[in-house]
């Protein structure tokens, strides 16, 4: 009897689990804009182009740890393709799939869309991009990741949109030096995530420390660690003049509050993923507004009031984070690639890849920092914006227009 009961319960649990995980993957389509012009009969096509519709894949995270970011970037992608066409002819249809930030899901979802998409508008997350790299390469896929690790620049066809994390952090240091917030010979504490993202950011710090004679205290954490008090105590005891972060927003908040509690009043510099608008509603808000500087490839919302209006009308209730600006900018770069391919008369995957490789000096009208071009192993951009937290939509306001730091070009070509 009990065994039967146990079996019944186990079956019920299994069934619920299936239902629960089942609803975390869903397909959504984003429609294209109005009707196109004449069919470009002399443009060669193969996979992913049906009549006057181009299918692009989106592997994003709508339910996992980066769900908020994934939603925002995808919203940006959608908004862009609602209003734009390729070659004034083709509408773009996005095949949006949710990986939940699990590489295994990403691989499966890609194999399901493999034969129907021309290129990948977005693939979120370094681990998923890395997992899919061999397939993307084999299929001649042009892809835009929403991560800035140096290793991603080594994947052919994958276009990192902005400076890699090491260049970004080094640019951030330059800003601190320029503003007199940091001086040669100072001590800096750098908290970084284990893994690619953190390690790449740390490389930037190490390069600056060597060039400018800084004393660097390194503290490695896992993304699960949320309480930064102990590390901040250590930094306070060492008398740091600045704190540098390559972490997630949660740790940023904790650093700010702990620094305040311990009376450590120094600038905090972070790479672009350290900030989320939600931080300004928490207890760390005031401290962050005083001390945080964010180096990143994306323009703050206050630079694009019209786009903001459009975005809020289209996605009422969504917090306008930088992810949406980035998603919109990604669409712009993809459009430039596809337009070039179309002009070359070759909208096959190979043609698109060729167009991607020949792209130079990509200008997105300031949405994303200027991109020099996509060369394997090179940071695609040497420039970064500096932004500061403020009570504006998106939570960040601009502190410095895109600029190239002193060490940027040295770091950019160092990828191995």
């Amino acid at each position: 009897m009990t065994r039967r009961r146990a079996l019944r319960a186990a079956t019920a649990v299994a069934a619920i689990t299936v239902v629960a995980t089942g609803c975390s993957t869903r397909a959504e389509d984003a429609g294209g804009g109005g009707g196109g012009g004449a069919a470009a009969g002399d443009v060669a096509t193969d996979v992913g182009v049906e009549g006057e519709t181009i299918n692009l894949g989106v592997l994003t995270d709508l339910t996992g740890v980066f769900a908020a970011l994934g939603n925002d970037i995808t919203n940006g992608n959608r908004l862009f393709w609602q209003d734009n066409q390729v070659c004034d002819t083709y509408d773009v249809n996005l095949n949006v799939q949710d990986t939940g930030y699990v590489p295994q899901n990403g691989v499966q979802l890609y194999s399901a869309m493999q034969d129907s998409v021309l290129a990948m508008q977005q693939t979120i997350g370094s681990p998923i991009n890395t997992a899919l790299a061999p397939e993307y390469e084999a299929d001649n896929i042009v892809n835009f990741p929403s991560a800035w690790s140096e290793t991603l620049t080594l994947i052919p066809g994958t276009g990192v949109l902005g400076a890699t994390y090491d260049v970004e952090i080094a640019n951030g240091y330059d800003y601190l030096f320029d503003q007199g917030l940091l001086a040669e010979g100072d001590t800096v504490g750098h908290i970084y995530f284990e893994g690619e993202y953190g390690a790449n950011g740390l490389e930037g710090s190490q390069a600056v420390a060597e060039a400018r004679g800084l004393e660097l205290i390194e503290a490695q954490i896992t993304p699960q660690e949320q309480d930064m008090s102990a590390i901040v105590s250590q930094f306070a005891a060492a008398g740091v003049n600045a704190i540098v972060l390559t972490v997630a927003p949660g740790q940023t908040a904790s650093v700010a509050v702990a620094a305040q509690a311990q009376g450590l009043d120094v600038p905090i510099l972070g790479s672009n993923p350290v900030f989320a608008p939600g931080l300004l509603e928490g207890p760390a808000a005031e401290k962050l507004k005083e001390d945080l500087y964010v180096a990143g490839p994306i323009a703050p919302w206050d630079q694009f009031p019209e786009l903001l209006e459009q975005y809020q009308a289209e996605f009422p209730g969504a917090t306008p984070s930088l992810g949406a600006v980035f998603g919109y900018g990604m669409g712009e770069v993809m459009k430039q690639v596809l337009d070039t391919a179309c002009e070359n008369g070759d909208l096959t995957r190979e043609g698109v890849l060729a167009a991607f490789n020949e792209l130079e000096n990509v200008d997105t009208g300031g949405l994303i920092v200027p991109i020099g071009g996509f060369e394997e192993g090179q940071s695609p951009s040497l420039q970064s914006y500096i932004a500061r937290p403020a009570d504006v939509p998106g939570g960040l306001t601009i502190a410095a227009e895109p600029f190239e730091g002193e060490l940027a070009s040295d770091l950019a070509s160092e990828a191995d």
């Binding site: 649990v13 689990t17 975390s24 284990e194 660690e225 949320q226 105590s233 509690a261 207890p283 401290k287």
Partner: protein, 296 residues
């Protein structure tokens, strides 16, 4: 010295929160003989409910609702799953709780996304400073509340009917049942208590110096696991000592990571498990756990 004191105070405050969580593990284990792996997601549930209801109900109302919802969720797990499987091997029960945990956690993570939900603690980001040693007011309040709750718990455990019934059931279930103790009730009440403790721990875990409610709060409950085990899984006093020990060890290891570089970076997270291993090697039933005697 300031650094040491600062780390010590922070470690103790973290430890008291661990102790609340660890007590939950112990209470449930004593009453239902289940190692409850769903404790982490119950804790996250409490934090989530407090955060989403605080706009409408205000801080105090939200806390009460959060604690109530967590307690009800805990008792539902007990009634709907654990109680129906009574008599099943301990291992099966533990694995069932892992299943429950995954279900609750998946839903919560989906709802949370990667944004940070903030709980409007009245003490917000205030801090207390004394002779160079700083601690967030949130952690200060946590220490006081945890001390009161743990004190009340020990009194209830020792003197209330429920406490006596529970100790009797834990000692010898069959005899206790023959004496008229309703084990179902004892067990249900234990889950309620564990739920309440988890929600209170959650309340302080999502305040400064840790950021608001995010899926990673769940991971903290895992760090309380070694605390419960090294204290002895069936010892309430052990949970308290274990919690403090783990909190202090973890904080010191993180704060002095530069002095321990030969162990590699990020050593702090590993410390709870190392402390647990070392103690279990010396005392297999934990510091205060009942030794199992087997006649051969």
């Amino acid at each position: 010295m300031t650094q040491f004191l600062s780390l010590l105070v922070n470690g103790i405050s973290l430890g008291t929160i661990y102790a609340l969580i660890a007590l939950g593990f112990v209470v449930i284990f004593k009453a239902s003989e289940v190692v409850n792996f769903a404790h982490g997601s119950l804790l996250l549930l409490g934090a989530y409910v407090i955060a989403v209801t605080s706009d409408a109900l205000g801080f105090l109302g939200a806390v009460l609702v959060g604690v109530a919802v967590t307690a009800v969720a805990a008792v539902l797990v007990e009634r709907l799953v654990i109680n129906r499987l009574r008599g099943a091997p301990v291992i099966s029960l533990a694995i069932v709780t892992i299943g429950v945990d995954i279900i609750i956690l998946t839903e919560l993570v989906r709802r949370l996304g990667s944004d940070i939900l903030n709980v409007p603690h009245p003490w917000a980001g205030e801090s207390i400073r004394f002779a160079g040693v700083g601690i967030s007011l949130n952690r200060g309040v946590a220490m006081v509340v945890a001390a009161v709750l743990i004190g009340l718990f020990f009194l209830a455990f020792k003197y209330s009917n429920w406490g006596v019934a529970m100790r009797a059931s834990a000692e010898d279930g069959e005899t206790a049942a023959l004496m008229g103790i309703k084990q179902g009730q004892v067990s249900a009440l234990a889950w309620v208590v564990a739920g309440v403790l988890a929600a209170v721990a959650a309340l302080f875990l999502v305040g400064s110096p840790t950021p608001g409610v995010s899926p990673t709060v769940y991971a903290v409950a895992l760090a309380a696991f070694p605390a419960a085990i090294l204290g002895g899984l069936d010892s309430t006093g052990g949970a308290l000592v274990g919690g403090l020990l783990i909190g202090i060890a973890e904080t010191l290891a993180t704060g002095y990571q530069d002095e321990m570089l030969f162990l590699g970076r990020g050593f702090g997270t590993v410390v709870p498990y190392i402390v647990m291993l070392v103690i279990l090697l010396v005392r297999p039933s934990g510091l205060f756990g009942t030794r199992e005697l087997t006649r051969v």
